[in-house]
């Protein structure tokens, strides 16, 4: 019997041992614990595009200007002050001499140039924001083709270590908001050199050997320093090919390379923000500590922050309820509407800088996969207007989403940008919609093809909304639509490749300006899923780019926005609401349309433990 009992005992010991082996080590409590939207995808500035990544970056990094903790307007951060030339094209930033990296190095203009240059040499999703800078696009295209123009001709210049001058193509009235956005943040080149990966490995290995003979480690030198050594290397007994390649590198002032993403992980990562990333346990947690080298450390009230990784919606909520988490940064509208109905005071909702809408295919022919490329009824503006005016959007926001969202008649969410007003869009008018449809040649919906309406299968709210839309269009216009759900990646592919007729989509603004919405529908824009082309709209947007007066610019953009709202290449449904759960003692996190979190202003008003300086 004892031999038999030894088996379960042995197994249990194995299990306990394995538990300690896989356990998460020390159990300590941070001053502030929160659950971000999901897991961090990447912390590399070049590749970042998800909101949770940006949120964490605001805690650990900082740019020339940063959002103010109270008003979210850009205030001086890495820069102390700036000047603008009268024509609005030349901006001179005076950098803060007390700003330091987490390893003690001073933050200089060269760090900004290095980081921004990376966006041209290794294009990322937000490289297009840099095109405002003179010759930036030309440099990027020429670099990709292998014959880059001189980097010094690009409109960013380090006049001296602490003076950074930008020359733009056109006056950009919202430049301060742009430089407060993470893609414009600086990076410390020397801390990343160990992760540099040269494209031409065989040759750079030879260079490395040459440098090693002189007691220099290639892995510790910046690109500029290596370039300075190249003439000496080429003068040695090297082949003609190598000499030619080296001459090319010296002429263009660049050695093609990329950086392994590991540079963003502790302990190697060097940052310049109010907090430092000290630990990152994959899929479990990130641990931030107050940075001792941050120039404004006296204004930081919290010492440690823990970001718990939890992808499961229900589990996130249960963790919050159990009391281990102070802030649940994003919750789904499903859950939020339930909590709202129960009157939870720690549920915070605020209007978001985003809109849910239907995108309509505007090309004259439907895509091949739909009725074999037949004539597209949506190409007729009157049909689109009829579709837009026959939807009872109030029904959707009151019965389906139930978070008090604002019904949308415009693409841009009104009231989210001071100084910009939208003109009213198309109203809910069934009679008018029916007459428009009849005018277009489909009286009472006769002869109108049953177009497919596409959405992503993992979104239950959208599943319900398309059902409502189908019902409403049948009732109000007499037309049929076919509901089509696809897996997320396939759905995204279909939309970006314009292989759809009607699709349910969303758009959030990246930076506080109208152009983050209107630029999407330029006829040349990659993001223009509707293939809508209106020359007047393009012209208005172009005029706005060249307008130096902010108020006049807003009026031009108002006209442009109105074109979208009346020609309806997209049918706006409602404006999103950001929902989160925050305990009352968490102060300094104010709900705002862009869902920005400025961790610098975070304060915990618990009696007793206030987070010492």
């Amino acid at each position: 019997m004892l031999r038999l009992a030894s088996i379960p005992i042995g197994l249990m010991l194995l299990v306990l041992g394995a538990l300690f082996w896989s356990g998460s080590g020390k159990a300590r409590k941070a001053d502030f614990t929160f659950i971000n939207r999901g897991d961090i995808i990447t912390l590399d500035l070049n590749l970042m595009s998800y909101q949770q990544d940006f949120r964490l970056t605001y805690a650990i990094r900082e740019g020339l200007y940063c959002p103010d903790p109270e008003t979210y307007e850009p205030i001086p951060a890495g820069a102390e002050s700036h000047e603008v030339s009268p024509d609005g094209r030349v901006w001179t930033f005076h950098l803060r001499k007390s700003a330091k990296w987490s390893n003690g190095d001073p933050v200089t203009a060269h760090d900004y140039i290095f980081s921004w240059r990376r966006f041209f040499e290794e294009p990322g999703e937000y490289t297009y924001l840099f095109y405002y800078i003179k010759n930036a696009k030309a440099y990027e295209t020429s670099y990709t083709s292998g014959e880059p123009i001189d980097i010094r001709s690009v409109g960013m210049e380090a006049v001296d270590d602490y003076t950074f001058r930008l020359t733009l193509n056109d006056p950009v009235t919202f430049l301060l908001d742009l430089v407060a956005f993470p893609p414009f943040y600086p990076r410390n080149e020397r801390s990343m050199t160990a992760f540099r990966d040269f494209n031409d490995k065989p040759m750079m290995n030879l260079v490395g050997d040459y440098l090693a003979k002189q007691q220099k480690d290639i892995k510790k030198l910046t690109q500029a320093e290596i370039l300075a050594e190249l003439p000496g290397f080429a003068a040695q007994n090297t082949s003609a090919d190598t000499k030619a390649a080296v001459a090319k590198m010296i002429r263009y002032g660049s050695i093609k390379h990329t950086y392994l993403n590991e540079y963003t992980r502790p302990p190697n990562v060097v940052t310049n923000g109010p907090f430092m990333l000290t630990e990152w346990e994959f899929k479990r947690r990130l641990w931030l500590e107050k940075s001792p080298t941050y120039w404004d450390r006296d204004a930081v009230h919290v010492n440690t922050i823990e970001m718990v990784v939890n992808d499961n919606v229900l589990s996130q909520f249960l963790q919050y309820e159990a009391g281990t988490v102070d802030w649940l940064a994003d919750i789904t509208t499903d859950l939020a509407s339930e909590l709202r109905a129960r009157g939870r005071t720690d549920l915070r909702a605020s209007k978001a800088f985003g809109t849910a809408f239907l995108t309509l295919m505007c090309k004259p022919q439907l895509p091949k996969s739909i009725f074999n490329g037949a004539k597209n009824p949506l190409a007729d503006q009157r049909v689109r207007q009829a579709l837009a005016m026959s939807i009872d959007k109030k029904f959707i926001t009151e019965r389906v989403t139930r978070m008090g969202e604002e019904v949308a008649t415009t693409y841009f969410p009104p009231g989210t940008l001071p100084g910009f007003e939208t003109l009213p869009g198309l109203p809910f008018d069934v009679a008018k919609a029916q007459s428009l449809l009849a005018e277009a040649g489909y009286p009472k919906g006769k002869g109108f093809p049953a177009l497919p309406i596409l959405y992503n299968s993992d979104n239950p709210t959208r599943a319900r909304i398309v059902q409502v839309l189908k019902e409403q269009w049948k009732q109000n216009l007499g037309i049929d639509v076919e509901i089509e759900s696809q897996e997320l990646k396939i759905y995204r592919n279909r939309v970006t490749e314009k292989d759809y007729a009607i699709a349910m989509v969303a758009w959030y603004g990246d930076y506080p300006d109208v152009s983050t919405f209107t630029d999407k529908y330029l006829s040349t824009s990659l993001q223009n899923d509707s293939a809508w082309a209106n020359m007047q709209f393009d012209q208005l947007c172009d005029d706005a780019t060249k307008e130096a007066d902010a108020a006049k610019r807003m009026l031009i953009l108002q006209k442009a926005e109105a074109l979208i709202d009346t020609e309806v290449p997209i049918v706006p449904l409602y404006h999103y609401v950001n929902c989160s759960m925050r305990r009352d003692y968490v102060k300094g996190i104010k709900e705002n349309p862009r869902n920005l979190t400025v961790f610098k202003g975070l304060r915990l008003d618990k009696a007793g433990s206030n987070g010492a300086n």
């Binding site: 306990l16 899929k283 990784v309 589990s315 249960l318 159990a322």
Partner: protein, 311 residues
């Protein structure tokens, strides 16, 4: 037998290579790619990313990554979690899944064999009824239902201190998810044990032993169990591989940072390197466990001959 083991071990790399190739082909055929984000991606950006990760074409992928597995033992960087290499991810999550799986298997085997044996011995009695209930519940209830129910149990005020929600690291954290995971294998093991035990209990040597005067307990637990265990053993091989590499549902519900979530996530995000990495780990487990089970057959029942030529 050593020849059989050697033969099987030599087959291992070939089988793994074939699995790798087939998985890669399937992954490549699926529409969508790992680099597209929430908005339309600029072709230049896409090309840059593809070059950086050697994913410009099936050939470029196949010519760089499989070689690295053999030379460096590394599956390469994850195409989606760009900061982490696949090896890092597996190293961080496999121990968690193994722990959970071991616990679940231990419960499943101990309870399952115990209840199954007693059900056979006290046929039509209380234990038989219990075994039938367990099997029905375990087989019919989907794992996400049991997991969700247990999760709710942990949030009951009286239990809150004991079972922390969504965390991992303390001994108590393994109990609820382990229970949820163990129900399905337990159900099978109960039925298997009961059926084979009934079979063995009817054999002649048992009657002889009882006639000799041996106590019932010794006959059942010391002699019959070994014979009855063989079918359970053959089930345990694949079951161990499946359970130890993590269950997606249980890990998702309890927020456990194990390997199971990566099976589904890597497909959804088309992360080819991670997908291949986890499939390789799973295949290795499966093959190794099947081999171990075959060896165990001989230890449990010396009458069994597993040499390749035997029929």
């Amino acid at each position: 037998m050593p020849r059989v083991i050697l033969y099987r071990l030599l087959q291992l790399p070939i089988i793994l290579a074939v699995i790798y190739l087939l998985t890669f082909l399937l992954a490549w055929v699926a529409p969508g790619d790992p680099f597209s984000g929430e908005r339309a991606i600029d072709p230049v950006v896409l090309q840059t990313l593809r070059e950086k990760y050697n994913a410009t074409s099936p050939l470029s992928f196949l010519s760089s990554y499989p070689l690295r597995i053999i030379t460096e033992g590394s599956f390469g960087p994850s195409l989606f979690y760009k900061e982490w290499s696949v090896n890092d991810i597996i190293k961080a999550s496999l121990p968690v899944s193994i722990t959970l799986g071991l616990f679940a298997l231990a419960i499943a085997v101990l309870v399952g064999v115990g209840v199954g044996t007693l059900a056979a011995v006290y046929r039509d009695g209380a234990f038989d009824w219990a075994s039938l209930s367990i099997s029905l519940i375990g087989i019919s209830l989907p794992s996400f239902v049991t997991a969700a129910l247990l999760l709710l149990l942990s949030s009951v005020p009286a239990m809150q201190g004991v079972f922390a929600v969504g965390s991992w690291g303390r001994p108590a954290d393994v109990i609820l998810p382990g229970l949820a995971l163990s129900l399905a294998p337990m159900a099978y093991i109960v039925r298997l044990t009961r059926a084979s035990m009934l079979d063995v209990l009817g054999s002649d040597f048992v009657r002889t032993a009882r006639a000799k005067g041996l106590s019932r307990n010794i006959v059942v637990w010391k002699h019959c169990l070994k014979n009855a265990f063989v079918p359970v053993l053959s089930y345990l091989g694949p079951a161990a591989a499946v359970t130890l590499t993590g269950s997606f549902v249980v890990e998702k519900v309890f927020n456990i940072p194990g390997l199971g979530q990566h099976f589904v996530n890597s497909v959804q995000s088309r992360d080819q390197t991670l997908l291949l990495g986890v499939v390789m780990v799973y295949s290795l487990f499966l093959l190794v466990f099947n081999l171990l089970v075959d060896i165990a057959y001989v230890l449990v029942d010396p009458r069994i001959d597993i040499s390749a030529k035997g029929s």
